[in-house]
């Protein structure tokens, strides 16, 4: 047979080629290079050209699509705000047993952190962040912002009573600042320039001598300099009270100020420091916990401390847990209280309603697509325009139209009452509930089902149906066994499109969904623009993305992604 012969021939040719290769080793091109190398070189140029052609789109997609998605994924686990706002406290809390209120040391760390945060105005943001986990923390942080100046005030007064020079910025500069920096700063101050003051540098050795004071003073100096609108200089400002607190703590801890000597320190400052060191023992101690409790009682209670400790990691699963109605507590992961569980319900509802909408779209769209694909081109084009009509109507007009039709005082209810099918006082609720969402969204998404179906059906030649009938199949069998399987790629494409679009919809459900017809996307939108809980919004979005990918994968496994045809 001719085909068989052709097969034998080509097989023979292939064998011949193999023999050839075996005998001569690697094939060489005309210029003596291995053929493979030449080919690769030729192909590389081609690939580069292809890459250059898609580069604009690729860059566009990376910037506008991939980057935001990565950003979203990152935000859903990002939690650096706690460790960045309260760095010392977070470290100090590492060894806290969470059984009794923290020690004075931890309160001191909090005082330093909080003062710096208040100056940078980031403490309320932390408050909002922690408020997601524990109600009431927002106002504790806000109040603490106003009261932070009280912390350490008692010590400041006592130091100044001891020697009024402690009030002078110059005293502190002399003690704390690097002599080189002092010189630089003086040179900067002498010239009238818009350049910023040189960044403050601690004196060498001071951090070993007075660790807390040096740290607190440094954050005071840097905070002044970092002020966006009118930066101040540590050379002209009295330090925060928390710096005095630090100094008191360092000195009472027995800093060896007696040993201070050498050229790094001005003599007067050293003497003053030694005097202070001698005096601190007679200072009236101030109870930090009580001070904080005066600002807000919350600081003398456990929840705020356990919450800070629990959420001190720079990355957290907290948002993801919240997105599935779980919460991270000091004692582990727990299910949130029943009356606050909402996300699993909404995920489930989103899935169920989207599947319903998808199913309705198949049921309504299939016959239409079939009709369209079997009509003469001119007629089908005209009908296609009708199909596309919803695309060209503004969302609000469409939705308002549905309201006019479906609401209880609406056209359909009026009609039903007039016919007598429905009693006037028992009008049907067809909008502001799930029915409304399903109806309006099916209408909007129907074209996304019809178009791929139509384009696939258009490519199924009528001869298949004829062949099936000539082979003895009834109309129904022919449709079921021959036509329908071939239109499955269109159904697949339509379903994927409709389903994915549908689970991401939020405007329509928001307007017509009422109480029970809203989707998870509505909560995402709420957290993005209203509650500003972007981490939770990102986690919800990521879960949604993962769900879509899983469904996509399932679809690929069950139906095969090659079986999707958009046209």
């Amino acid at each position: 047979m001719s085909d068989a012969t052709a097969g034998n021939l080509s097989q023979a040719a292939a064998e011949a080629r193999r023999d050839d290769a075996a005998q001569t080793g690697p094939m060489l091109a005309a210029d003596g290079r291995p053929l493979k190398q030449s080919l690769n070189r030729a192909l590389r140029a081609q690939k580069l050209r292809a890459l250059a052609l898609i580069a604009p789109l690729l860059i566009f997609l990376l910037v506008t699509f991939v980057a935001p998605i990565l950003d979203m994924l990152f935000r859903s686990v990002e939690n650096q705000i706690v460790s960045e706002t309260l760095p010392r406290t977070v470290i100090a809390l590492e060894d806290w047993d969470a059984e009794d209120l923290p020690s004075e040391d931890i309160y001191a760390a909090l005082a330093y952190d909080l003062h710096a945060a208040v100056e940078r105005r980031i403490h309320t943001r932390l408050g909002s962040r922690l408020n997601y986990e524990e109600t009431g923390l927002s106002s504790i942080f806000r109040r603490s912002g106003r009261g932070i100046d009280d912390v350490g005030e008692g010590y400041a007064d006592q130091f100044i009573d001891l020697d009024p020079a402690w009030e002078e910025p110059a005293t502190w500069i002399g003690l704390m600042a690097d002599p080189d920096w002092i010189a630089e700063q003086a040179a900067w101050a002498a010239t009238e320039t818009e350049a910023r003051e040189p960044v403050f540098q601690l004196a060498p050795g001071i951090a070993d001598l007075l660790p807390e004071t040096a740290d607190a003073y440094r954050s005071f100096a840097l905070a002044l300099q970092a002020e966006a609108r009118n930066p101040d200089s540590p050379t002209t400002e009295e330090p925060w009270n928390t710096v005095f607190l630090a100094l008191y703590r360092d000195l009472s801890a027995g800093a060896e100020v007696g040993a201070v000597e050498g050229p790094e320190f001005a003599r007067a400052e050293v003497v003053r420091l030694q005097e202070a060191a001698a005096a601190v023992a007679s200072f009236t101690p101030v109870d930090l916990r009580a001070t904080f409790a005066d600002i807000d009682e919350g600081w003398a209670e456990m929840p705020i401390w356990t919450t800070i400790q629990t959420f001190s990691d720079p990355y957290t699963a907290g948002y993801f847990l919240a997105a599935v109605d779980l919460q991270l507590t000091p004692s582990g992961i727990e299910v949130v209280e029943e009356n606050q569980r909402i996300y699993m319900l909404l995920f489930q509802r989103t899935m169920v309603l989207s599947l319903t909408i998808m199913g309705l779209c198949v049921i309504l769209g299939y016959p239409i697509a079939y009709l369209l694909s079997n009509l003469p081109l001119r007629t089908s084009n005209m009908l296609l325009i009708l199909v596309l009509l919803p695309f060209w109507t503004s969302l609000l007009v469409r939705t308002s139209a549905w309201k006019v039709l479906l609401q209880q005082e609406g056209v359909i209810n009026d009609l039903l009452v007039w016919i007598g099918l429905v009693a006037d006082d028992a009008r049907l609720a067809m909008i502001n509930n799930q029915v409304g969402t399903v109806v309006a969204m099916t209408h909007i998404l129907l074209p996304f089902m019809i178009l791929p179906l139509y384009s696939v059906m258009k490519t199924i030649p009528p001869s298949y149906m004829r062949a099936a009938k000539s082979l003895g199949a009834t109309n129904w069998t022919a449709f079921r066994r021959v036509y329908f399987p071939q239109s499955v790629p269109g159904i697949g494409a339509g379903c994927i499109l409709v389903f994915i679009l549908s689970i991401g919809y939020y405007i329509t459900p928001e307007i017509v969904g009422g109480r029970t017809g809203i989707f998870i996307s509505n909560r995402i939108a709420f957290h993005i623009s209203d509650s500003l809980n972007w981490g939770l919004a990102a986690a919800l979005g990521s879960i949604l993305l993962a769900l879509v990918l899983v469904l996509y994968w399932l679809y690929d496994r069950i139906v095969g992604i090659d079986n999707v045809k958009l046209g």
Binding site: S463, A467, L471, V482
Partner: protein, 361 residues
Amino acid sequence: MQDAFVSFDRVQKSYDGETLVVKDLNLAIGKGEFLTMLGPSGSGKTTCLMMLAGFETATHGEITLGGNPINNIPPHKRGIGMVFQNYALFPHMTVAENLAFPLEVRKIGKSDREAKVMRALDMVQMGDFGGRRPAQLSGGQQQRIALARALVFEPELVLMDEPLGALDKQLRETMQFEITNLAHRLGITVVYVTHDQTEALTMSDRVAVFDDGRIQQLDAPDVLYEQPQNSFVAQFIGENNTLEGTVAEMHEDMCVVRLDDGELIDALPVNVSEVGQRTKVSIRPERVEMNKDRLAPDAHTLKAEVVEFIYMGDIYRTRLRVAGHEDFVVKTRNAPDQRRLKPGERIEIGWLPQDCRALDA
């Protein structure tokens, strides 16, 4: 015909209610016959096939199969096998599933089904291809499968709608041979539609030449070629020289035609009966004689001038200017006694009167 297996009785078909695409069709096909419907596109042949298959309904007239009218029987109950132009193999089924399909819908048991499918595949030498998908087969292989599928449920009548149209020439010739062979071996009746006259002539028991919604001639291939009944058939089947003129003399078995430039030729009257009638005379290129010795002494001859000489291996093809036309073709055998003519040479040509048919104008 008394023992007609398929018959069309005064069948008409119109799609738009204004024009008839099939006009008064009468046709009887015998059992076991291989009948070809041949004609240019739009001649109504495919419409006839579709009416027979049941995909189109006759506007008027009756079609019977095995003596029973089938006008109102839906296609799937007619039990007619059909091979489509583009094979129409179901792409989502394997070859074996395609073949099993007609058996399944007939509720034939699984083992029986498998045996029949295997037999049908073997019949077209495709026994090893049952597990493939149609898209994995070449055009010729698909054609075989389509054929096997149309035969697997053992229909008595098989319709083929230009089944070889998509194949290259060599493959087409092989398949022509195989199809006719198979049809005769199985004793089935075949109605075959084509616009390729060679195919029609080589394969068929009888050929129905369609034009303008009518059968112009229905005859065995040799009769069709040798004795076309009208100028359409003469033109459509094989190569043909046509000269126009008026009947000058009428004899019993021959007539003399005066061509439009005044020259006289001998011809066999087919569609002419009286002097003065306009006619088209038709002469096959291989029946033109350039050697005067082989003609009757009183035969009329025509002067001709060689326009072109083409060497075609087995034959010579010479184009002549005759009676003012430049498209008069003569074919001669490549034989030792044949001279190769040169363009510009003047010769005389003639023919036996029975080879020149005076047809309708």
